[in-house]
């Protein structure tokens, strides 16, 4: 059982830089987290919803609505998109933050980030090319589409993608390193805008008009002082065996 004060659960502190299997984490008891794992099993950011202002409430709670059908991506692209989102964000089971739908909605509505690399097409075209490229690489390497690959195979492809090393097919129409930046930025922004992800990481969420009083500065309270509504982090209180060496 990792000790949270030791930091030995952090990938860079571990041999090979690999993450621990999440089996060491407690199951969420209150509210929802992605895959029902997290470090704050008794914290639910939505318990504070009555302290949020109306405008914020509207924007954040809309993310909890059941996701609708895809509007931007085609049915051919959908499995690749879902497989990419699952792999990049390590969402291997339900409940999932609907990252694919959130990305799809942004692209359908043209809510882009305001810049485009000169050696790249429009972000919307980049997304389509990336999905085609992933299928191209998967077919070459594993004789199946990206969505049909095993998790380890998808991770191997995404790892090459992250390092800008994929070539051939649609990849030749892209600067692969820039393409990685375009797609992962949008996936991360979607995932970590979702209240379930805030529950997982213990983020306090919207804070207007309530604000914070206990900032944890110098003085008697010390840095670890908490607001009454903040829950401390925890490890698993119903221990299961930690899978240390992650064998698949």
């Amino acid at each position: 059982m990792p000790d949270l004060t030791s930091a030995d659960h952090l990938p860079k502190r571990r041999p090979g830089g690999a993450a621990l299997h999440p089996s060491w984490l407690p199951r969420q008891r209150r509210g929802t987290t992605p895959q029902m794992i997290g470090r704050y099993p008794d914290f639910n950011v939505l318990d504070a919803v009555d302290t949020w202002d109306e405008a914020t409430k509207k924007v954040v709670l809309a993310r909890l609505e059941p996701p609708g059908p895809l509007r931007f991506f085609t049915s051919d692209e959908e499995p690749v998109l879902r497989a990419l989102c699952d792999t990049v964000l390590a969402q291997d089971r339900e409940p999932r933050v609907p990252v694919a739908e959130m990305v799809d909605g942004k692209l359908a509505d043209g809510l882009l980030d305001g810049y485009q690399y000169a050696d790249m097409p429009d972000d919307r075209d980049t997304w389509r090319l990336v999905l085609r490229g992933l299928d191209h690489t998967a077919t070459l390497g594993y004789q199946t589409g990206f969505a049909g690959c095993a998790e380890a195979q998808r991770e191997a492809i995404v790892s090459e993608f992250a390092q800008g090393r994929l070539v051939g097919g649609a990849w030749d129409e892209l600067n692969v390193a820039h393409a990685w930046s375009v797609v992962i930025r949008m996936m991360l922004a979607a995932f970590y805008s979702h209240p379930w992800a805030w529950n997982e990481i213990g983020f306090g969420g919207p804070a207007y008009p309530r604000g914070f009083m206990r900032l944890g500065g110098p003085g008697a309270d010390g840095p670890a002082v908490r607001e009454p509504f903040e829950q401390p982090g925890a490890t698993d209180e119903d221990p299961v065996q930690v899978v240390d060496a992650w064998e698949r």
Binding site: T56, E155, I201, P223
Partner: protein, 572 residues
Amino acid sequence: MGTFWRGILKGALGPRDNDSRFLLDVHSRDLPGETTMARYRDDDEVDLVIVGAGAGGSVLAQRLARHGWRVVIIEAGPFWHPDEDWVSDEAGSHPLYWTQKRIISGADPIELGKNNSGRGVGGSMVHYAGYTPRFHPSDLSTYTDDGVGADWPICYEDLRPHYEQVEAELPVAGQDWPWGYPHRYPFSPHPVSGAAEKLREGALRCGIEMRVGPVGIVNGTFGNRPHCIYRGYCLQGCKVNAKASPYVTHLPDALAHGVEVRANCMALRVEIRQDSGRARGVVYATESGGAHRLQRARYVAIAGYSVETPRLLLASVSRRFPSGLCNNVDQVGRYVMVQGATQTAGRWPFELRMYKAPPPEISSEQFYETDPARGFARGFSIQTVSPLPIGWAEHVLADGHWGWALREYMRDYNHWATIGVLNELLPHPDNRITLADETDPYGQPIARMDYTLGDNDRANMAYSTKVITDILHAADAQDVLTIQRFAHLIGGARMGSFPEHSVVDANQRAWAVPNLFIADGSVCPTQGSANPALTIMALASRLAQRMASGAAMDDDPGARTGRTRSRAGNRR
């Protein structure tokens, strides 16, 4: 004034000639005057039309309106209603940014959008963090001192009274400031959060002094502006009205004195009389594909910031200016700068919850000036920051983590604190804004930004990254994650003493068009290691004073070249 009285009066003295803080409504965040402000007809020749309602344009308008000028501001973005439009949420703040497409290129392309570009009444100060340091006197003479960058045509003494005035108007809270030109702030420093305190401990152990502030965030109350509630969403627009932006510091007073802000209007070109070469006004459109309108004015000031100001000039093509307005000597869009803004985060055994308290807390300018022993010219400042979850995810990603490892680091969020630098990156003529072939929905060519670092820049960034990483280790951080990034924009239409090497003169008046001024950060020839907002406001304040007195329209060559005699007074 003695220390005793200064202490007693801290936070009690307000600025003169600016009633914005009293005009605001305690029960509503809307900008008072939106429905009652003056309205001018397009064919009514107003005294001044300004493009851009941000830091520069708003201060210029407020000042000149106080002198009885009839002013219209053309603003591309919306008139905000913060209670409804702004949210206490990262992703939901997307509308605050300039997200219209721009092309980025060069060896080190700069990410624009939320990182550095605002759109809407109040400009990018609506979503800046809130740090408001001054430039140092040495920033204005880097060429003379160090043989790099450029000298400004003005000196620190030209700016100092305006720094003081703007600091009183924001108002700035912070400890007494020992660096650059030593000065004090009108409001006391804010309390320090646990995350920032941890970083300060590390800095002290490294022999680095850090001070609380300076931030444009009310500590106390200020007219009808309330105390900060430390919710940590400074970069998402302050729904409290505690953080300074022109929306609360200058526009209320401007609207009360006859300024019209024409929102959702995209400026398309500055119209030039082909006979006299004077500007007639600004052509703009109220919607994409809509009719073009011309707001006539005696004077035109452009304050669209470092991308949009050059873009507007370059798009204003005429017989007199075939390659863009003021661009017959190919200076428009050049010397655009950003600051290196590497951030590094450390991990501690206990929960710090860095999302509480404003992201800008404490900073140091100990490494600001040139130190030959470091092996590069100029320097950097150090500032604490505190990313919210999406920002934190980008930080973790930049250190090379995705998938399971990213989720693990993200779950550890509450244990981390983040410190960053601002490197002074040097101006270079090939770092520039040009027009791309593509057009936007208004039919206007979109901007392209090319950016490539120099050797001095790389050396500065590498050195500063080591300094902040050492701070984390000195504070016993258990793990460290680093992101290399850039922040802020400046330059692109610089001021100078010679028309061949600059776009505007020492009065920010265009060399090529006698009644055209540039009133934003694009006039800065260098940038120091300070966040630019305060300096942009101070420059606009100075410009307004000189336009009101007529000094800015002085055709005397000496007046246009600027002050060079008082170099001695330029140093401290």
